[in-house]
Symmetry: C3
Subunit: 311 residues, 3 copies
């Protein structure tokens, strides 16, 4: 299964920044192209007070900091140049994480969507929207948020597609900053299907593709969960993508590039389940030959050998 998309993690929750300038980003888009990536997805346009573009609205309304670079403009220009499809990730106010309430995510993004489409909608590479709220089961208000924001994204942009990337509430679904790697109360396959069928039913029509993060379950559970996901996606008319995490969740250092054998197991499970597309979180830290983590460059080489196998 070939990876054809990657997130761009420039406003990070938990991955240290590489401090790249435009030159490094330009080169990285070329590295991506070289292995067949055609889609780049901004992970979020802002997180709390840090933002990726000079948003008058967010600076005024949420006290966000004036960003030193307009990353949205930069990424769109590079996407235009390299022929990439750019998905814009919505703003994450942090309010939901603190309070369990989606209201602020909806309110802020209603403005952000309009502002962004007005500023950047003319770029030919602007090809979709990423509804950046990372949810799992029991995320209150998620269906309503996806409905309202997904619909608005489509309305302003002439129906551009929308993507979500939730996580499976498996044994490795623990906080990044915690000292733990696993938890005891993981979701069962049956609960997963029941709860996500309800969510898929609620978001069909406003969400076009769902890319579950593939790193929270054990490797021997991949096939079963992937097949259930595909079945549900088919039933409710969603595209079924996989978000193949290229970092390793099993190690005390959170996080460094994954062992290729693990990535391969995950991609093969998605292939066998008939998934529509594979994207990764994310190329630039964990798979790029110019990553600050030199393991990433070796992963890039191993992955290229795998591509040759696929031919």
């Amino acid at each position: 299964m070939k990876i054809t998309g990657t997130f761009l993690d420039e406003i990070s929750h938990d991955i240290p920044h590489q401090n790249w300038g435009r030159k490094e980003w330009d080169a990285d888009f070329q590295h991506m192209k070289n292995v067949g990536i055609d889609t780049v997805i901004l992970i979020r346009s802002g997180y709390r007070k840090f933002i990726t573009y000079p948003s008058d609205y967010l600076i005024k309304q949420y006290g966000c900091y004036q960003p030193p670079v307009d990353l949205v403009e930069q990424f769109l220009e590079l996407s235009d140049k390299h022929g990439m499809n750019f998905y814009f990730g919505l703003y994450d106010s942090g309010h939901y994480w603190d309070s369990g309430d989606m209201t602020t995510e909806i309110d802020s993004n209603r403005h952000v969507i309009d502002e962004v489409w007005q500023k950047y909608g003319n770029h030919e590479s602007f090809k979709g929207w990423y509804l950046s709220m990372e949810i799992s089961r029991r995320t209150k208000g998620a269906i309503e948020a996806f409905q309202k924001l997904g619909q608005q994204c489509k309305d302003v942009s002439g129906g551009l597609p929308t993507l979500i990337s939730p996580w499976i509430d498996g044994k490795k679904a623990v906080m990044a900053a915690s000292g733990q790697l696993t938890k005891a109360d993981a979701v069962s396959l049956k609960e997963h299907e029941s709860e996500w069928s309800e969510i898929f039913d609620g978001i069909k029509g406003v969400v076009d593709a769902v890319a579950f993060q593939d790193g929270h379950i054990d490797y021997h559970e991949l096939q079963d969960f992937f097949e259930v996901n595909k079945k549900m996606a088919d039933k409710f008319g969603l595209q079924c993508w996989t978000n193949a995490e290229s970092f390793d969740r099993d190690m005390p250092i959170k996080f460094l590039p994954i062992k290729f054998e693990k990535l391969r197991l995950k991609l093969e499970a998605a292939r066998k389940a008939g998934y529509d597309k594979a994207i990764t979180f994310e190329f630039s830290h964990f798979m790029s030959p110019q990553s600050s983590y030199l393991q990433a460059g070796h992963l890039y080489n191993r992955y290229q050998e795998y591509l040759k196998e696929l031919l």
Copy 2:
């Protein structure tokens, strides 16, 4: 705000060692010069049983290990060569951290100061003393320790200046080895001013400059705290420096280089508050183009772009 000083972290609490030899250090001093650094501050001359110079006193009295290299001599020679001002950081016995009692820090350093000045005082680059006890509010015995040791440093060396670098007891003041990034019981601005006015009053005359670590408070709190610090420093006749941390306290990996945007926010806050000088903890791991963390080299490039903006 230009960074003109850096700590040298060769006896580290919590930053893994780079295993550089003299050649790498010589090159790094050149890299520092190239971005306008004129001051290097040895973070401490020893920590528990590991020491930076062959101290007869510490080896005999505290069972310290014979160091394989005389780093103090090496750093002074390189400071002489590159025209740097070298500040010598006192010994940290570790006893205070274990017991809350400053007595051992005072007793040991009374000997260390004499020994060091006798051995190394002839170097023209020996330009100051760093009282290495990292304190915050409620550090018992800190005023007395600074008074005694600061006075002795000045007495033996013909009045060379003394520096301290305490931390603000903000939300990010957690132990490096803990799984947490923040704590709930952060100090308020008012408590900070009240408690530090008392400390500044107690150390005026024996401490010439105070460089608060800038990483324990949130970015939107910087301006208020920095202005209070400057006001207090002015009132009690201290120079007000900032210790601009160039590592990122917000990430699960403790610690990698900071995102440039964050460093910029902190430097700008110091500039606006009229600070006298900016130093960093520290150049060689987190900002150097030859750092083992390749993100540091990119931070060096971003920082140089910022310097051009300042012109």
Copy 3:
């Protein structure tokens, strides 16, 4: 004390993978040779469902994943080429870690030993067995497991030597994924001697060499523990090796290369205690000039300077 052996950590519990291919491994064996390493020890041939060679038995019986590369074949070929002595590390089912019961380790390895000797015993570099169960005091069933498996290794292979590498239950014996660096209830020297004398008595004859991991005690405790270990090894007729850990257990990042001064203290303690051989965990991440951790290349340089001192 010269390091003449290293583990190969290709199925790791806790060290992120470098994603090297055969080319990088070939080069690394050359780097090892260049500093006098003549022995490579596969840390384990499998861990839970991940395995290093296509074992029909483990795939069928334990649901292990088909490995993308036969690492055992690769390492044996490279050992043949570079004139290394290869020690094969047994399979770790993970069952002991979960249950405290050694039965599965014994049962699975009885098959693995036969299978492996049949497949790979013809390689001239196959020179020994590593009984990979990492034990300390109070590890139930360890003596019986070492007896049975050690005897079988010798029986099938015409008496090739066997090695174990336990840990001392010192203050730094904490879980890698935990937020802690030390614990309070460390073993005393006297308890260590009493408990390990019993274990050595039980395994003499089936285990030829014991290489205690040297990283769980404090540096000032090294000499006493090393001398007791040597005394016990001599008494029960075992060779006494040291497993000189080349990563740093004292830092929040778990784990990066160790400060050379610390490695030197440990090697010198082993030399003074008259140890027979030093091996390291492990060269390729922590001491190799091509490691993804650039600190490792500098450690390689510092270590080479130390070798010159030894002449």
